[in-house]
């Protein structure tokens, strides 16, 4: 079937009132979001507007995919994705445990913990700091996820190889951010600590680590996404028969797109929840900081 034929069947497949109806609905959608955003002085407006916008997008997606008969290999309707999520819930739960529960969580904790400890350790040694910091910042330009095949060779197919990739990907951002954060305490405050005859550990605990918190949380948030990406990509290079990356690559090869999208939804929800949790934690831990106060 040629492309023009496909377009003709699409064009004749819908009722004549379909496009005006869609335009009308789009105007309603736009206006409702606009009115919602214009509400002043309520704290829930931001969330609600975003949610409303998202709901409209999903609705339009459903309508357009169904009405235009888009092949589900290209773009499955949201209802199909939901159905796949429901039908394959145990399978996807297994993938979630394999990828997120083991590789991401362990790798992220190890990578961030190591980065933090090394940063605090080399903070005392200016020579090492001057030597390591430029090298560490350079690694941000290097596609570190490429070490996945090597990690699979060293640590086998199961989650340790994925966790190793995640450790490597999260270590350097954490190191660089923590070091930058430790420098963030102002000169005035530092001199005050000096005039109190505070020891180095005391200054670190009472002044410099708190001052570094926004930087540290920034790295933790970025790393949460990086860790998820790293683990999923590493599974493309070989994996036991579970894992979100494994599911995506095998089901995409079988053209079972609703399940692929289901796995993506799981990954996206995981990423968003992790991000939201870290933001909430940051508000608790660094409530006094201007960057949190204003936001």
């Amino acid at each position: 079937m040629s492309d023009t034929a496909a377009i003709e069947t699409v064009a004749t497949g819908v009722a004549p009132w379909f496009w005006p109806g869609i335009v009308l609905l789009a105007l309603v959608a736009g206006y409702s979001v606009y009115r919602m955003a214009a509400i002043q002085g309520r704290s829930w407006v931001g969330m609600a507007t975003a949610a409303l916008f998202g709901a409209w997008v999903v609705l339009f997606w459903e309508i357009l995919v169904r009405a235009l008969d888009v092949p589900r290999v290209l773009l499955p309707a949201p209802s199909l994705v939901l159905g796949a999520l429901w039908d394959h819930a145990p399978k996807l739960w297994g993938d979630f445990v394999q990828t997120v529960g083991k590789a991401v969580l362990i790798g992220w904790a190890l990578g961030c913990g190591l980065g933090f400890c090394v940063a605090v350790a080399i903070d005392r040694m200016p020579f090492l700091q001057r030597g390591l910091l430029p090298v560490a910042s350079l690694t941000s330009a290097i596609p570190l996820v490429g070490v996945a095949p090597i990690a699979v060779m060293w640590f086998g197919f199961d989650w340790p190889s994925k966790a190793a990739v995640v450790v490597l990907m999260t270590f350097f951002p954490m190191l660089v951010s923590t070091l930058a954060g430790l420098q963030a305490a102002g000169k005035l405050e530092r001199e005050l600590m000096y005039s109190y005859a505070a020891s180095y550990p005391r200054t670190l605990l009472a002044l410099r680590l708190p001052a570094a918190l926004p930087f540290i949380f920034g790295a933790l948030k970025v790393n949460a996404t990086l860790a998820l990406i790293g683990a999923i990509v590493a599974e493309f290079f070989g994996s036991p028969t579970a894992g979100l990356g494994f599911r995506i690559s095998t089901e995409a090869a079988r053209m079972n797109m609703p399940l692929v999208w289901g796995a993506i939804v799981v990954a996206a929800v995981t990423g968003s929840v992790a991000y939201a949790l870290l933001v909430a934690l940051e508000r608790r831990a660094a409530f006094w900081h201007p960057s949190v106060r204003e936001g």
């Binding site: 492309d3 919602m36 931001g46 916008f53 290079f237 053209m255």
Partner: protein
């Protein structure tokens, strides 16, 4: 402070520590190659019954055919060989793969930057978009894009796009986010007094965007571009994985992993690191030129 240093001081202060760290890395690499290859070398290369000296063991770990960890000089040799012994259009030459991956990275970077700039201007000027769109842009980054890569490739492929375009699309998805977020922040960075002055001049929205907001946002833009181009490279490389692409650094990694060509994986990794550094270096160079022409130090 930095400007008054003499050359020797700069070498001692800035370069010496970096050199020491890099030297330590190379030594650790050799140590790892020795330690991790020892087992394989004893099993496959050396004759265990006849006995071997430690020197022979060391030599064997450094020259193995398919080592667990190739020694630095083996990677360097493979790297050099691939650059000199094959024509540039041969898939055995790394330059060929760099060109393929670099093309999709740069195309995606250009598209992502354009999209990011457009979105940030729209968001800054519309309260509705700010409320409705920005949270989703943030959420979009928690979707592991690389997960969508196979789908994007299938969808775009069936629409008649093949080759560079789908990979560039994924690179774009990774690039636009840092640019959008930084530019929203940057475009809002002019102080109230400055925006009010534009108002007293009866400047149009367009004029205050062009004359005040954009220049003020430049220092925010360039760090985002550096992040974006590095992210775009990752996107372009990963997009080459699930498609079974024949060319590109990602494909090179995958074939190396299929055929157990360890040294090939390592030299492809080194090449991708160099490409990443070159791309961010170019952006940093442009940044310096632009900021200097605007009177920064």
């Amino acid at each position: 402070m930095a400007t008054t240093k003499t050359l020797t001081q700069r070498i001692a202060h800035d370069w010496l520590p970096v050199m020491v760290v890099l030297l330590a890395v190379v030594l650790a690499w050799y140590g790892a190659a020795w330690g991790m290859n020892a087992q394989g070398a004893i099993e496959r290369v050396l004759d265990e019954e006849a006995g071997y000296t430690q020197m022979e063991l060391f030599e064997a770990t450094m020259t193995m055919e398919r080592p667990l960890v190739p020694a630095p000089h083996q990677v360097a040799a493979d790297f050099y060989e691939s650059l000199t012994e094959w024509p540039i259009d041969s898939p055995r030459n790394l330059i060929y793969h760099v060109i393929v991956t670099g093309q999709s990275t740069l195309l995606g970077f250009a598209m992502g930057t354009a999209l990011g700039l457009l979105l940030s201007v729209l968001i800054v000027h519309s309260r509705t978009l700010d409320k409705a769109l920005l949270p989703w842009i943030v959420a979009s980054q928690t979707v592991p894009v690389l997960a969508i890569a196979p789908i994007v490739l299938v969808v775009l492929g069936s629409l008649g796009f093949a080759g560079t375009a789908p990979k560039a699309f994924i690179a774009m998805y990774l690039c636009f986010f840092p640019v959008t977020v930084a530019m929203v922040q940057g475009l809002r960075s002019p102080q109230k007094i400055e925006t009010e002055m534009m108002y007293t001049y009866a400047a149009s929205r367009w004029q205050s965007l062009w004359l005040l907001r954009l220049p003020a946002a430049l220092p925010f833009l360039f760090p985002a571009l550096r992040v974006g181009v590095a992210a775009g490279l990752v996107g372009a490389m990963v997009a080459e994985l699930p498609t079974g692409a024949q060319a590109g650094l990602g494909a090179r990694l995958l074939t190396g992993s299929y055929y157990g060509q360890t040294t090939q994986i390592w030299s492809a990794l080194v090449m991708s690191a160099l490409l990443g550094l070159a791309l961010t270096g170019i952006v940093a160079g442009v940044e310096r030129l632009v900021l200097r022409s605007r009177g920064a130090k």
